[in-house]
Symmetry: D3
Subunit: 163 residues, 6 copies
C-alpha cells in the first residue's frame, strides 16, 4: 500500500489545490493533505479553518484525509507512513525553490520520493495570494474556489474592512 | 478614441517608467498614468508625492494625465473608459507574475486588453527598489531619474538618516 | 491613423495566432499580418499557402490584410507605413529572444514600437510546432486550428505519409 | 494495479534515466520504459540498440519492461494499459516544453496522468547530448553510464572516427 | 597584485560560501570576505558573530581576511583597493537580480570588475535560508556547514525555542 | 602567473566578445582566446578566418593570444597551462547549459576553474547569430563589430547572395 502526503499552507485551498489532491488520490492508496500548522500573522485563516475548508472540499473522496502538521515535512511523512510527497507544479512555480526542497529532502530522507503533478490549464495561473488579492478588492472569485471557501473569504474580507 | 491606463506604484517613477509612459502616449489617444493609492509603510513617498513627481516629469506631453486610484485595476480602467492597460517589461521582470495578472484580468474583465512595451536598453536593469537602495547608500542616481525626483529622493534619504 | 504589423512564419496560423491578430486589429486602425516568405525546407506549407490559410481565417475582419514579406521586418514595416510591430507572448515564449529582437529593432529603427499581447489561457501552450507534431501522429487538433486549416494539415500529412 | 510508462529516446540511457526508471518502478506496480522508435539520422544508436542497452541496465528490476514504440505517447500508453506517464525533471529541463506536452496530453487524453520525478543531485547536470559530446572528445564518462553503455559508446565513437 | 572582495550577509556562511571563498583566494592575490554590517531583525546572527564564524572556517587560508562593511559595495571595494568583486552563482540564483546589481555597479564604478564562480555540484541547492529552515526544524545539517557553525546554529535555535 | 583561456566559436567575434577578452586580460597574466576548430557547415567563417578576425581586434592588447583548438576544452586548457576558463554571460545566456558544462568540466578536470564575466549593458542583447541574421538582411551592424569584421561580413554576405 502506497501512502502519499500533499503538504502546503492552503490559505485557503483553491480549485487548483483541490484538483491536485483528487488526482493524487487516484494514483495512490491513501493521500494525506497536510496543512502546515503555523501561527504566522501573514496567513488569512488559522490552521483549524484551513483544515476544515479543505476537508469539506474533498469530503466525497474516501481515501483523502486532511490533517495539520508541524516540523520537517519528511519527518511527518515518516510518522504517517507516507513514502511519497506530492507537489503541484504550475508554469509560474518557483522551480528552483522546488528543486532546493526536493534535493534537501532527498539528503535528509533518501527513502521518501517527491512526485510532481502539473496543474491543469485552467488552474495554471491561480495562486492563493493572487486569489486573496483579487477577492479582497471585490473581484469575482466564484470560479476559483468552491462555494464554501468563497463565502469564508467574503466573511474574512468584510470583517477586515470594518476594522 | 482609444484610452489607455498605465498603472503602478511609481515609488518614485524612474526614467524607465517615464519612457514607457511617453511611448504609450504616442500609440494611444489618451494615457492615464494611474498611481496606486495605498498607505503602505513600505513605500518611500505618499500617494500625493508619487502623483506630483510623475506629473512634473510628463507635464510636456499633452495627452498624459497622472491620477491616483484604488481597488481593482480593471475596475478603474472601466471607470475612466480605458480599454487598454499598459505594462512595461524588462528582462528582469517577473514574467510569471505578469501572466498571472494578465490572465486574471482577462477572466474578470475580458473586454480590457493588456498591452506590453519592452523597456529600452538603458532602462533594462533599472527598478525603483534598486534605485532607492543605491540612492540611500549615497550612490550616483542622476542618470536614472529626472532632476526633481533626484532632489526629492535626496531630501527623503537625508531626513531618514537624521531620525 | 496607426498601422500595425504582425509578422511571423505562420506555418500554419493557429487559433492562438488568429486570436492575437483579431485583438490587435481592435486596437489599431489597420493590421498587416506579414507572412515571412522563405523557401525553407523546414516549413510544411509554402508562402502562398500560409498567406491563404491565414487570410481565410480573418476574412471577416475588415481592417486586417495578410501579405508575404522578405528582408528585415523593420524595413518592411516602414514600407507599409506601420509604426507598430505586434508580438504575441506565451508563458513558453523565449523571452530572451524576444528582447534580443526588440532591442535590435530599436537600434536599427528607433521610430518603430514593438507591442506585445499575451496569449489567452486556452492558447498558452499551443505552438505551430507542437500542433504539427500532434497532427502528424494522428492526434485530435480540431480545437487548435480553424476547420480549413485542419483539413489542409490532414491533406499535407497524408501526402507526406504516402511518400 | 497501476501501470506507468516512462517514454524517451534514450540515446543512450544514462545513469540519470536509469535512476528515474528504478525509482518509478518502486512507486507503481509495473513500469514500461518506452523507447521512441525513430529512424532519425541525429541519433547515435538505432532503436534495437537503445532498447537493449536500457534493458540490460534494469534487468535486475522485475517490474520494469523496456519496449520500443511509435506514434502518440498517450495512444501507446492506452495500448499497454498505462494510466501514468513518468517524466524525469532536471533543473536544466525545458520546463515550458514539459508543460506544453503535459497540457497537450491532457487535452487529447484526459484520463492519463503525467507524473514528474526530480533527478537526484548527481544526475542534475547529465544529459544524453552532453554525455555524447564529452565521450566523443575522449572525456571520462565512466561515472555517467553503466559499464556496458560506456563500452557501446566507445565502440561507436571509434567507428565514427575511422570513417 | 589583484585584490578581490567577496561580499554577502553570510548569516551564517555555509560550506558553499566557504568553498567559493577558498576557490577565489586561489585565483587572486588577496581576498576580503566582506560581511554586510546591518542591524536587520531578519538576521539570525549579529555582524560580529557572522564575521567570527566565517573567519574560523577560513583561518587556514593565509590570503583571506574577513571584515565587516557598510555602504555601497563598490565604495568599500575601492577603500580596500579591490578591483574585483566575487559572486557565487547557483542554478537557483536570481540571475536577473545579479545582472541588475552587476550593471548598476558598472554604472557607478566602471573600474571594478564583477567575477562569478559557479557553485560546485554538492552546494548547488544549499542556501542560508533553507539551511536555517531545516536546522530550526531539527533536520540534519552537519554536511552543510562546518562543525563550529553547526554548533552556533544549534545554540541559536534552542535559545529561540525557549523564548 | 595565472593563465586564462577564453574559448568559443567566434563566428565572428562581436564587440561583446572582444570586450570580455579585454576585461579578462586585465584580470589575469595571460589570456588565450581559443577558437574552436570545427569544419561545421553551419559556420560562416572557417577557423583561420575566425582566428585572424579576432586577432586583429585585440592586436593592441599585449597579453592576449588568439589560437585555434580542438578536443575537450579542459584538455586544451591543461595543454597551454591555463587554470582558468573564462565565460561571458548575457541575460539571454542559456544558464542551464553553462552550468551543465561548468559542472561537467569540474567532474573531468577539478583543477580548472570556470570564471564568468557579465556582458556590459550595450552588449547584453548582441549574439553572433542575431548579428549574422541582421547583417545578412542588410541591417546596420557598424556598432556591433569592429570595422574589419563588418567588412568581412559584407563580403561574405554578398558572395552568398550571388550563388
Amino acid at each position: 500500500m502506497t501512502i502519499a502526503l500533499y503538504p502546503g499552507s492552503f490559505d485557503p485551498g483553491t480549485n487548483g489545490h483541490i484538483d491536485i489532491a483528487i488526482r493524487a488520490a487516484a494514483l495512490f492508496d491513501k493521500l494525506f493533505v497536510a496543512v502546515y500548522d503555523t501561527p504566522s500573522k501573514q496567513l488569512l485563516f488559522n490552521t483549524k479553518e484551513r483544515v476544515d475548508l479543505f476537508e469539506k472540499a474533498v469530503a466525497h473522496i474516501p481515501n483523502i484525509k486532511v490533517i495539520p502538521y508541524t516540523g520537517l515535512t519528511v519527518d511527518f511523512a515518516r510518522k504517517v507512513g507516507a513514502k511519497v510527497i506530492v507537489r503541484g507544479l504550475r508554469m509560474s512555480s518557483d522551480f528552483e525553490r522546488e528543486f532546493e526542497m526536493a534535493l534537501m529532502n532527498k539528503k535528509v530522507a533518501p527513502d521518501i520520493e517527491v512526485v510532481c503533478l502539473m496543474a491543469n490549464l485552467e488552474f495554471q495561473f491561480l495562486s492563493s495570494s493572487l486569489l486573496k488579492e483579487v477577492g479582497s478588492l471585490g473581484g469575482v472569485i466564484s470560479t476559483l474556489v468552491p462555494k464554501h471557501i468563497e463565502e469564508a473569504l467574503r466573511k474574512k474580507f468584510s470583517s477586515t474592512r470594518k476594522q
